[in-house]
Symmetry: C2
Subunit: 241 residues, 2 copies
């Protein structure tokens, strides 16, 4: 097995961006989250990999084990996989542009998490509800339209190669953006429906990614965690309008 | 002039990570923040570059113009400059490891900003003081020691090549981490003194970076903005303990 993914069990989280890339690439990997602790999986496996003695320790999951290397930081893992498995352009400008898009997608992802945990995950949601309401109000009014408007514009610029963000082939950034759109549907059904109504290219990207044979097989396999309110995308009706 | 940096005038912000890399590399660049609007500088220059018609539009500053290319996202710009100007290892594992460190440094940077603006920059600090106090309490108690402990550990693993984070030469990640330590001294003089007392390697890294001849010249040139409370590092005595 060439790869092993370490991420907290029970949620998609940032690990899911890595999983979608591995699935689309069609490479085999061991997913520690799906194994019991007795078989080297579960949360203890994540804790162990973070404490591993090695020259290049990860700070936080997700972590990808590739042979003897441990690679961390979601965009960094995707940069690595993109190059190895044809999930990004081979030329340097295309590679950096794909990475730039990915970093912006993950900025949006972080801001989505911040809507329900503006005071950090050091406090439960129930301990920070008024703060979450205020942060989310600004997110819905300003940030979400700004991010989605940007990505719709990028898709339009590449419309000769619809539905992809860049170039003629899907990249890991396409997979990640589709994942964020799926998460937005779960977390903000009203706000995201309103925002996506006038952004047909984002809807088409989402549908095209989840119709990819390998991605569709993965979603149907039962290996993909369902969205749930322990995850980074959370549905709190009081935050959605 | 091969490069031009676009970032908001008056603050260091994320632009400073790019500037420090360019300064250390000894390459010439035009800094739009230091030019008046009439000469293609100031905030209007940033607004213009964000609205530029092009195939690969940036989402937010900093933006680096390199010939006809516009490159955005701080870690992406540093990846580009690191490769071009010997600010990162040339081998692929070393390059990705340096990038991984940089992404973690910028995660810390974002969390520092979040201490005083947990509800986002859509609200003034004065409108979110109780939230800032709660977020900062957790940051000081848990997050700051965790990040600094991690980087101290990484420095120790590379102690054969002290004071650098990786390999025998300084990388852009060293420059960025020294910048974050400088910012912590400004924003959290008490908390950072306490945390750095038992982390000699971080102190040595900071001192070594700011003693580099080109960095020292830059700091003395008057071109580097002073830390100030419009910036992402801010000093609010009520948040420091």
């Amino acid at each position: 097995m060439p790869y092993e993914v370490f991420y907290w069990p029970g949620i998609q989280g940032r690990g899911e961006f890595v999983r979608l890339a591995l699935e689309e690439a069609g490479v085999r990997y061991r997913d520690a989250a799906l194994l019991p602790p007795g078989k080297g999986g579960g949360a203890p496996a994540v804790v162990a990999v973070l404490a591993a003695r090695g020259e290049r320790p990860p700070f936080a999951p997700p972590v990808l084990r590739a042979g003897r290397r441990l690679i961390a930081q979601t965009p960094n893992i995707l940069l690595f996989l993109g190059e190895r498995h044809g999930l990004a352009p081979a030329n340097e400008p295309g590679k950096l542009w794909t990475h730039q898009l990915q970093l912006t997608i993950l900025d949006l992802y972080t801001e989505i998490f911040d809507t329900h945990h503006p005071l950090s995950d050091g406090y439960a949601y129930e301990e920070q509800k008024p703060a979450a309401r205020r942060r989310t109000r600004y997110f819905r009014a300003e940030r979400l339209p700004k991010f989605l408007g940007y990505f719709e514009r990028v898709l339009k610029l590449n419309s000769a190669h619809a539905p992809w963000l860049t170039g003629a082939r899907r990249t890991y950034a396409d997979l990640s953006l589709a994942q964020v759109i799926a998460g937005l549907h779960y977390a903000f059904p009203k706000a995201s429906a309103r925002e996506l109504r006038r952004r047909p290219r984002l809807r088409a990207l989402h549908d095209a990614v989840f119709a990819r044979p390998r991605i569709a097989r993965y979603v149907a396999s039962g290996r993909r965690y369902a969205f749930n309110n322990e995850d980074l995308f959370r549905y709190y009706p009081e935050l959605d309008r």
